[in-house]
């Protein structure tokens, strides 16, 4: 946690910025301060221009906005609830904690907001195929879902390591009609999946849209992905005013690439009284080097098209990130977050695997909600923030904190069961013959192998 003097000076910077009359909302890109831009091969610039142009026109088109609103309401189930977590709050210094329930959206996370928007844009551009990267599988499942809904072909790149860790999500994507391509390059995780998706895009750009899953990458992705997630913050702001009659004292979210976070932060950026916190994956602890805390310990660099904080070695080679949460296991971060960190408007701090899993269990047992491990980082952070903001206060319940509960934890049951020592040596839940591992059938295996061959065809 930041000490009081640092926090004060950061507030002063942010206050000065806001009092200068400049809004921090709706930053259009391509640059957020010195971050963002287009550090991309020339081959893809025309495609990025096309996406930007289509997005800008759609944003101003009532028909598009109505279509999106209809899908959000009647397909995703928006608005998502804002639930007060009364028993959980007792562990956060008594501050009142409200959960923005993105876990209740169709497909189980905030990811659906962005994929519906981008899939509609893909249709507008006349594309027949979408590709996506995925870490834990949430964005892949959401992309496969949107593609099925809108009749688009869908190919999802997923690190081979992540495919093994999240076999159930591989099957979900396949059930939805998507092809899953296991990525065997590099660290076989999210960043390598993005590399392969970019290689696919540059080779198939005529008929393909790259449905990037986070508020990172080259312009217009950071501003566009934020736009599709702004609904989170807009709803939360109206809901907290309705339920409590005032703005929150703090808003907390987890940060991988940072799309759920920028979506909920957006509505509060121009309210100086609202403290905003982003919680990065601290892994085994930032002192161990095994983490994914790009803002906390990275330095500016370029990866996947944007200049932003980046985990890199002395040679500029990307350092592999580590987190118990596959969704936060990314060595960089969206460029708008880097900017908000530098100007002090948002405070970014690491949460270790242990802290996140403690918060995960606490929410399960106090509220009857199994959160995604990603979102558990925000919960753990909110406990710290709650204790800090209520310290010495006579009436801690005057302090209000919103946590973006970005996803549900069904996908994480195996990880959690292993973490909490609930499994025997065979991977069965202790005292049962129930395995958390999905048996590997021959049909799935052959499907995966075919996909790999197809993907490498043009490189032979």
């Amino acid at each position: 946690m930041v000490d009081a003097s640092t926090a004060n000076s950061e507030e002063n910077v942010a206050d000065a910025f806001l009092q200068g009359g400049a809004s921090l909302r709706n930053a259009p890109g391509p640059y957020f301060g010195s971050y963002g831009g287009r550090w991309m091969p020339e081959s893809l610039i025309a495609a990025l221009d096309e996406v930007e142009d289509t997005f800008e026109k759609a944003k101003a088109d009532p028909e598009f906005l109505a279509q999106l609103k209809d899908l959000n309401k009647n397909y995703s189930g928006r608005p998502s609830l804002l639930t007060e977590a009364k028993r959980f709050s007792q562990h956060a210094g008594g501050a009142r904690i409200f959960l923005k329930r993105e876990d209740l959206n169709h497909t189980g996370s905030h990811k659906i907001n962005n994929v519906l928007g981008q899939a509609l844009l893909a249709k507008r551009m006349g594309k027949t195929r979408v590709i996506a990267e995925t870490g834990a599988g949430q964005h892949g499942v959401a992309s496969a879902t949107a593609a099925a809904l809108l009749g688009l072909e869908c190919v999802v790149y997923m690190g081979a390591e992540d495919c093994r860790r999240q076999a159930l999500n591989v099957a979900r994507m396949q059930l939805l009609g998507a092809t899953v391509v296991p990525v065997t390059n590099g660290s076989q995780t999210l960043k390598d999946a993005i590399n392969d998706a970019l290689r696919d895009w540059v080779s198939n750009v005529d008929n393909t849209h790259y449905l990037l899953g986070t508020a990172a990458g080259a312009h217009p992705f950071p501003a566009m992905v934020r736009f599709f997630h702004e609904v989170i913050g807009e709803e939360a702001r109206a809901q907290i005013l309705e339920q409590t009659g005032k703005l929150p004292d703090a808003v907390c979210a987890c940060i991988g690439g940072g799309s759920n976070a920028i979506g909920i932060f957006h509505s509060f950026l121009d309210d100086p009284s609202v403290k905003i916190y982003g919680f990065e994956a601290g892994g085994d602890g930032v002192e161990t080097g095994r983490h994914a805390a790009a803002i906390t310990l990275g330095r500016p660099g370029v990866l996947h098209g944007a200049r932003s904080y980046l985990m890199q070695d002395e040679d500029g080679q990307t350092i592999e990130s580590h987190s118990i949460s596959a969704g936060l296991d990314y060595p960089s971060v969206g460029p708008e977050h880097s900017y908000l960190a530098d100007i002090g408007r948002v405070t970014y701090e690491p949460i270790t695997d242990t802290e996140a899993m403690d918060a995960f269990r606490l929410l399960c047992r106090t509220e009857g909600i199994i959160p995604a491990i990603e979102s558990s980082h925000a919960l753990a952070g909110a406990i710290k923030v709650g204790k800090q903001l209520t310290e010495g206060k006579e009436n801690p319940a005057d302090t209000i904190i919103i946590v973006n509960l970005s996803g549900r934890g069904d996908k994480d049951v195996e990880t959690a069961a292993a973490w909490f020592d609930m499994l025997d040596e065979n991977g069965n839940v202790k005292g049962t013959t129930l395995s958390t591992r999905k048996p590997k059938g021959p049909s799935e295996r052959s499907n995966l192998e075919i996909s790999t061959e197809e993907a490498s065809e043009d490189q032979n």
Partner: protein, 276 residues
């Protein structure tokens, strides 16, 4: 094209042009399988018909590269390759040959060292300039300043998808030559050369480029012959990487000799240069 400054790449291409042929440009990654082999292979390319040598910096996230180059650069990094070694490779080749030696690099390693520092060391090593696959002129303010300061060539890429406006802008920003990618895709050998390549070259010439070289998917003497008919230079990468992988420096020498036959000249007389 910015030509007021002398350009080692342009001079090398013009020497080939004076012999009535296109230039041959050979690519290999630095440090694959080790730094000394890179130097030896670079020298072998120069002595067997390559006019320009392109030395790649192995990078953790090479999004423009296909499977063969990815595998080689990943192995180089695993073998302990350090970015600063690229200057040793450049110096080793320029000391032994008169080929122009360019470095091909993704941008983050340059940014990490510092654009000015990197440029100074490249110039000191005798390097001609940089080929930058993920740096477009729009983001290159620092590189413009450093390349002017140290007299280095700026080789930007153009693609079949580049608009006329972007072609004009990129030609204006480039020095030495413009790198035309033949196809929408990543590096890797292909059966045939894309028909898009000739149009990109024509459009880039029309946009004002004096020298346009074609790369991506060029792997045989027939490909070289086909491209040499309309471009100022032909760039071969993946095939040479496969050669050093499978047969070491000797295989690189042999392949370069075969490829240069596609340029339509007697390789025994050309570039028989044992010293700078």
């Amino acid at each position: 094209m910015t030509e007021q400054m002398s350009s080692k790449s342009a001079a090398a291409i013009d020497r080939a042009k004076a012999q009535g042929r296109a230039a041959l440009i050979g690519y290999l990654p630095a440090g694959y399988p080790d730094v000394q082999s890179s130097i030896d292979a670079g020298i072998a390319m120069a002595r067997n018909g390559a006019d320009l040598i392109e030395i790649g910096i192995p990078y953790s996230d090479p999004v423009m590269d296909g499977a063969v180059i990815q595998a080689a650069t990943t192995e180089a990094i695993a073998n302990g390759f350090r970015v600063a070694s690229v200057f040793d490779v450049v110096a080793g080749i320029t000391a032994a040959t008169d080929a122009a030696v360019l470095v091909m690099t993704y941008w983050n390693p340059v940014m990490r060292m510092g654009v000015d520092e990197f440029s100074r060391r490249l110039a000191e090593a005798g390097g001609a300039g940089l080929i930058t696959p993920d740096l477009i002129p729009d983001e290159a303010a620092e590189w413009f300043a450093a390349s002017d300061k140290y007299g280095l060539d700026r080789v930007f890429l153009v693609a079949p998808s580049s608009t006329p406006e972007r072609l004009a802008m990129t030609v204006e920003a480039s020095r030495g030559f413009v790198y035309a990618v033949s196809i929408m895709g990543v590096t890797g050998a292909r059966q045939s050369v894309s028909s898009a390549a000739e149009k990109v070259v024509a459009d880039t010439h029309a946009a004002g480029a004096e020298r346009v070289c074609v790369g991506l998917g060029v792997s045989t003497a027939d490909h070289v012959r086909e491209i040499a008919a309309y471009a100022d230079g032909v760039i071969v990468g993946t095939a040479l990487v496969a050669a050093i992988r499978d047969g070491g420096v000797d295989a690189v020498a042999q392949l370069t000799k075969n490829l240069s036959a596609g340029l339509g000249r007697d390789t025994a007389q050309a570039h028989n240069t044992a010293q700078a």
